[in-house]
């Protein structure tokens, strides 16, 4: 049988682009993505309609709510970032808002607050800030009223139960060697 390449189908010239990071996911390869190279510094607001890879420096604001933002290992960002999936391999100082997910890779450093339904911190990553993990609240703008009951108010009966061994041992695997001081 003949092969497509042998009968002379015109092969498209490979586009000349800046070297991109290899992706295992072929869909990811096909997506359009802008790259801020390692020697580039951007000051101001970045917005657009494609994914973004930052290998250089950005100061200001990155607003790509419908697209993925990756801060590469060499990337240094001093800005709030809005994106769909945000992956941090370099250093970010600012608040990060992910519509779907935020991932701080093992080489990543984030000083700022995280708001996202899903958050992944890889071992070795450095993070200082807050993570809002109430996904339900993000979906519902109406704030759930908080009962005025402190955690400590319910501790006394719980401790008493635990120490008497009344707690369900299947649910609570208490260390039987632990001793009350």
């Amino acid at each position: 049988m003949w092969k497509k390449n042998e009968v002379g189908y015109p092969q498209p010239e490979p586009p000349v682009t800046a070297p991109q990071q290899q992706h295992s996911n072929p869909v990811e390869q096909l997506r359009e993505r802008a790259i801020i190279g390692s020697s580039i510094t951007v000051k101001g607001e970045i917005a657009g309609d494609e994914d973004l890879m930052v290998q250089g420096q950005v100061e200001g604001r990155i607003e790509l709510r419908q697209h993925n933002v990756t801060v590469g290992k060499n990337g240094r960002v001093k800005a709030d970032i809005f994106g769909k999936i945000i992956s941090i391999e370099g250093e970010v100082r600012g608040n990060v808002f992910g519509e779907e997910k935020i991932v701080i890779r093992s080489t990543g450093v984030l000083h700022g607050n995280i708001t996202a339904p899903r958050v992944t911190l890889e071992d070795g990553s450095k993070f200082k800030g807050s993570i809002d993990m109430d996904a339900k609240e993000q979906e519902k703008p109406a704030k759930v009223s908080e009962p005025k009951v402190a955690v400590a108010d319910t501790l006394k009966p719980a401790v008493a139960l635990a120490e008497r061994g009344v707690e369900d041992s299947k649910k609570l695997k208490f260390d039987t060697t632990a001793t009350r001081a």
Partner: protein
């Protein structure tokens, strides 16, 4: 004549916690079981960021603030020799600048106090109490051993009742060995609710702010 009980005294010194080990915890289990789905908690973790802990805590509606206290202090050469008297209040206001309206419900201080001098710990708690309300719960682990690794270990929450302790440091240093009486004095505004001795010589405390 052989006296009753004349065998060599048993070495009561706990082994330093310089290895990985699973630590069943009674106090933390009690605490987690009290968390309710219908309210949101603000948790302050004084340890290093951990994906495992974030994943576990994400089952509760909460806001988690991660403050690797030892790393933060080390990055400002806080542990280096201080020649002049230090204004700790200003230091903590600078290093831990939470908004005045912040109120933490739960504070996790695992293997943190062991690496703070008495005066530093006192001022840290004086700063922290401003961001607690009556009923804030502080869960801390404090070593009872004479020597501890030269840097804090990391704790990973395996489940409600088990913590995984990790410490790869083989260098030891003397431990402050804070007693319950020490902690009552140093943690102004908090009272000891309960305490339990863990298998690795750490003692876990539940403090409640008054």
């Amino acid at each position: 004549m052989k006296w009753f009980g004349s065998r060599p005294a048993k070495d009561t010194e706990s082994k330093p916690e310089n290895e990985s080990s699973i630590q069943p915890t009674l106090a933390l289990a009690v605490l987690f079981r009290q968390l309710r789905a219908d309210r949101k908690y603000h948790i302050l973790d004084f340890g290093s960021a951990s994906g495992t802990n974030v994943e576990f805590l994400s089952r509760y509606p909460c806001r988690l603030t991660v403050e690797d206290l030892h790393q933060t202090l080390a990055s400002f050469d806080f542990f280096a020799g201080r020649e002049s008297p230090c204004d700790y209040q200003k230091v903590f206001q600078y290093l831990l600048p939470y908004p005045e309206t912040t109120r933490f419900d739960i504070v996790l201080a695992w293997d943190v106090f062991n690496y703070l001098e008495r005066e530093v710990l006192r001022h840290l708690m004086q700063h922290l109490i401003r961001f607690c309300h009556a009923g804030t719960v502080l869960h801390a682990t404090v070593s009872t051993a004479r020597h501890i690794p030269d840097k804090p270990g990391q704790y990973r929450i395996l489940d409600e009742a088990n913590l995984l302790y990790l410490n790869d440091s083989s260098v030891l240093r003397p431990a402050p060995r804070y007693t319950e009486i020490d902690l009552k004095q140093l943690l102004a505004g908090f009272k000891v609710y309960s305490s339990y001795l863990l298998r690795n010589g750490m003692k876990e405390y539940l403090f409640v702010s008054e």
